[in-house]
């Protein structure tokens, strides 16, 4: 750096006030290097200092060697959406460092391993070389583990630079390693060494700082897959069948763990549940439907390609009216697509999965709190409606850590739906499985094993009459489909309704669902600063109902924000409310990453100005 450039930077920095609790850190590493431990410890430590955080892990479909990026957004205002830019770069991947540095904001900070002898060619940023190799050599970490703890060096350096409390880092490592002292001490040793080295050797020349505030007290950090799994456990799941697929696998991993802890019979030590790893997604959903038919609370978790394989069984379950829950943690399609990137591309697929006239109930969690709630509520809905319930999560919600209030225990007993016992059958003198006794389109069912000669019925994917007897009569087909439509209308009133923030006097509305919520929340604040008030309706489920129609009717222009290419929800809204379709403006965007407020604000302003 020339003297002139140095003084330019100097004046840039001197003029700036300290920037406290409002910046983004980008950590660029190599996949498989153990950076997840360092990154989550860093994030959790800041969270424990009372400062709202959100983390995004942008990783490749690879086991080891390809580049991985992790962003930690620090936001005193509590914004948790992804942002594209970053103020602090931790460059640990030599393959990507040039591009990573190029994207760094002016006035930003770049930490990198001293050994690289990086050419510090941006005069408008601060470089801090870190002696990663030297600190590792000086440590007592066994040689074979050194590559995996190297990342602790930047945690220590950042702790000093940003004033992150070392006790909080120690606590976060303790949490991460579940109290395993050896691992904690080894990692913490390096953190401390790096922090001390920084104190002695680094002159702070940047404005960024974490300061303790009080905005996370009583909150927790968890990924959506774990939250959904925990919800399922409190929903009383008994049969789980699945096939490994990113990004849903960790939902099943979490289920296995929670079930083992919470659902092992205390007397016998035996399981009150079964988790079966199937041979493929067809086997998984078939097992789940067999179990649901027999009366179990059954579920599977999958992603796009698995959804495709489940299609035929989804149609069978719709038509035989078998309850089951299917989690789809969405990734980017078509085809194998981007298996480790996020998307909301399966909305139409989930809604219509099957062949012929098929449509399904779909829940759309936007937070880990809702992932938990829908985790148990999905079973109540499935059994009440005797149908499949899809929970459409996505990789962003499922695999990233999110802040949340503690989850609320289910506020109602399990709803097992219209199930007749043998005694009921005796009392009623028999039953007709598909008869609409109550006018809600939902028949009464018996479970296999019900001990009465008239309790049995024959579930079949073929045409059937009210008594479940094979029928090709046109009237029977038509009546059955009409009843299924009636049942779907019942579902409109039973599913979680939209959350609406209607602002008086504005003609502009926004409709979103799932993880795009974080982006919309922040974007509305930016739009308000620019003088544009917006109303907001967040969908929480399909099928749609009158609330959404009313919202459309109350606004001249309604932006439908979603993370896919085709604007799938906008299309669905047009289909459901054709008379209001002219008011819809699709703002769909898909590049594998969560949507950002900057993109959305610009997209809306472009239309509005």
């Amino acid at each position: 750096m020339s003297d002139v450039e140095a003084s330019a930077l100097e004046s840039l920095l001197v003029e700036r006030e300290p920037i406290v609790n409002d910046f983004q850190i980008m950590i660029a590493t190599v996949n498989g290097s153990g950076s997840q431990t360092a990154n989550t410890a860093l994030m959790r430590s800041i969270f424990r200092m009372g400062v709202p955080v959100s983390g995004k892990n942008i990783f490749p479909s690879n086991i080891q060697g390809l580049p991985t990026w992790f962003t930690v957004r620090v936001s005193k205002d509590g914004y948790i959406a992804r942002r594209e830019d970053y103020h602090i770069l931790v460059a640990m991947n030599q393959d990507t460092v040039a591009e990573d540095v190029r994207k760094l904001l002016p006035g930003g900070v770049c930490l990198y391993p001293q050994e690289w002898k990086l050419r510090e060619d941006r005069p408008d940023i601060v470089y801090y070389p870190m002696p990663v190799e030297k600190l590792l050599e000086a440590s007592d970490v066994p040689a074979n583990l050194k590559p995996y703890v190297a990342n602790m060096v930047y945690v220590g350096v950042l702790a000093t630079l940003l004033e992150i409390n070392l006790d909080e880092i120690a606590f976060s490592l303790d949490f991460h390693f579940g109290g395993k002292a050896k691992a904690i001490n080894m990692n913490m040793g390096l953190v401390k060494a790096a922090a001390e080295w920084s104190l002695d050797n680094l002159a702070k020349r940047d404005p960024y700082k974490v300061a303790r505030i009080d905005k996370t007290q009583g909150m927790l950090l968890l990924d959506g897959n774990s939250a959904g799994a925990l919800g399922a456990v409190f929903g009383g799941v008994t049969v789980v069948a699945w096939y490994p697929i990113t990004p849903s696998t960790s939902l099943i991993d979490a289920l296995n763990e929670y079930l083992r802890d919470l659902r092992t019979d205390p007397v016998t030590g035996k399981a009150t549940y079964a988790v079966i790893q199937a041979e493929d997604e067809i086997g998984a959903i078939g097992t789940v439907i067999g179990a649901g038919w027999a009366g179990a609370r059954a579920m599977t978790a999958t992603s796009g390609p698995g959804m495709s394989l489940m299609s035929e069984f989804a149609g069978l379950a719709y038509f035989t009216e078998v309850p089951a829950v299917i989690w789809n943690v969405q990734r980017v399609g078509p085809s194998t697509g981007l298996p480790t990137r996020t998307s909301q591309g399966d909305v139409l697929k989930a809604y219509f999965l099957g062949h012929g006239d098929t449509k399904h109930v779909v829940l759309l969690p936007s937070s880990i709190e809702e992932a938990f709630e829908f985790g148990w509520r999905a079973f109540d809905l499935a059994e009440r409606l005797q149908t499949l319930v899809f929970v459409l999560s996505d990789l962003d919600l499922g695999m990233n850590l999110w802040m949340s209030k503690p989850f609320t225990y289910p506020d109602q007993p399990m709803d097992r739906g219209k199930v007749l016992s043998a005694e009921d059958v005796v009392r009623m003198g028999g039953f007709a499985r598909y008869q609409d006794v109550d006018g809600d389109g939902i028949g009464y069912r018996t479970l296999p094993g019900a001990d009465h000669p008239l309790a049995a019925y024959f579930a079949r994917g073929t045409g059937h009459d009210e008594r479940a007897v094979y029928s090709e009569r046109p009237e029977d087909w038509e009546a059955n489909m009409a009843r299924l439509t009636r049942k779907f209308d019942t579902a409109r009133q039973l599913v979680p309704g939209p959350v609406v923030d209607q602002v008086d006097g504005t003609q502009v509305g926004i409709i979103a669902y799932g993880t795009t919520d974080a982006c919309v929340v922040e974007s509305r604040d930016r739009l308000r600063e620019r003088g544009l008030e917006t109303s907001y309706l967040r969908l929480r489920a399909l099928p749609l109902n009158e609330t959404t129609r009313d919202f459309l009717a109350a606004h001249e222009r309604v932006y439908v924000v979603e993370n896919n290419t085709d604007g799938q929800m906008a299309k669905l809204l047009s289909m459901e409310f054709p008379e209001l379709a002219g008011r819809l403006i699709s703002l769909a965007h898909a590049d594998g990453l969560p949507l950002t407020p900057r993109w959305l604000t610009a997209a809306i302003l472009e239309q509005e100005q």
């Binding site: 969270f47 007290q217 009583g218 909150m219 927790l220 950090l221 968890l222 409190f234 929903g235 009383g236 799941v237 008994t238 049969v239 069948a241 929670y258 919470l262 659902r263 016998t268 035996k270 399981a271 009150t272 079964a274 988790v275 079966i276 041979e279 067809i282 086997g283 998984a284 959903i285 078939g286 097992t287 439907i289 067999g290 179990a291 649901g292 038919w293 027999a294 009366g295 179990a296 609370r297 059954a298 035929e312 069984f313 069978l316 503690p406 225990y409 007993p413 399990m414 479970l447 296999p448 094993g449 019900a450 001990d451 049995a456 019925y457 024959f458 579930a459 079949r460 994917g461 007897v469």
Partner: protein, 345 residues
Amino acid sequence: MGNRLNLIGLDRNDYKGGKSTLCLGCGHNSISNQIIQVAYELSLNPHRVIKLSGIGCSSKSPAYFLNRSHGFNGLHGRMPALATGATTANRSLIAIGVSGDGDTGSIGLGQFSHMIRRNVPIVYIVENNGVYGLTKGQFSATADLGQELKYAGVNELPPIDICMEALIDNASFVARSFAGDAKQVRELLKAAFSHKGTAVLDIISPCVTFNNHESSTKSYPYGKAHEEPLQDITYIPEYDEISIEEHEPGVVQAVEMHDGSRVMLKKLDPNKHDPTDRVAAIKLLEEASRDNLFITGLIYIDRDRRTLAEISRLVDEPLVSLPEERLRPPREALQAVMNKLICCD
């Protein structure tokens, strides 16, 4: 037959099903009749039985027996998955699955293998006729090499042997029979119902419409002329007393079943086959294939393999019968999980 009541007070008619819509003389109808007879004779509680099937002529047949049992006519080739789920959800159910050679040998071969691998408790019948009936006469994967059919021409591909497939997948019960041999079908069915785990019965069941000519090894005339039973099989229920000593040693093999019943196998050729020897069973099938022999009987049995429910360490009672308090952990349990996660004490 008729009005005599069995041990649980049911008439044979109580085990009947709807009227068959299959062709007159179809082998599947005679198998349905044997299922009715066996369920009646074994005094099975029909309310505990579930009937499962895939798609095809064979898969229609569960509607033609055991009307008092719940049934699920599922997807083509995917009945094993339904069976896996239903028997896991409720381990007290007695499952009988009816499939065909298309359903099991082609579209469902994968599920068939994995059901066997897991030892899902089910009596799994393959009504094997070598031909697709509902779609009017295509070869199935079990059709003989070189066989001719009016619609399909000459079959140029070697057959898949259902029993061999089952053995390779570590099946715990493998038998072959012939729909024209009612007694053998009946006794093997009884043994299968007494078996804990997947019991595969590959029953050659002629298609009278598309594949019943003499040149077909899946025809009545061929079966009648060529069937070579390995054993004369007699099933002895556990409540019938009979002492082992009565048998001629070396000629009659008694296989004790899980429920205490016994299957007496009178070997028709004393040197021929020991059904507890898996390697011998594989050799037997290979030789039969090589020599074009239509052997029937109990090919293999392993009473020691654990079932899926056992491997899954399930509680003894059916999962579906667990009350809410055993399914939904208490409020304190959620609180404890939350406490571990909450910031920041």
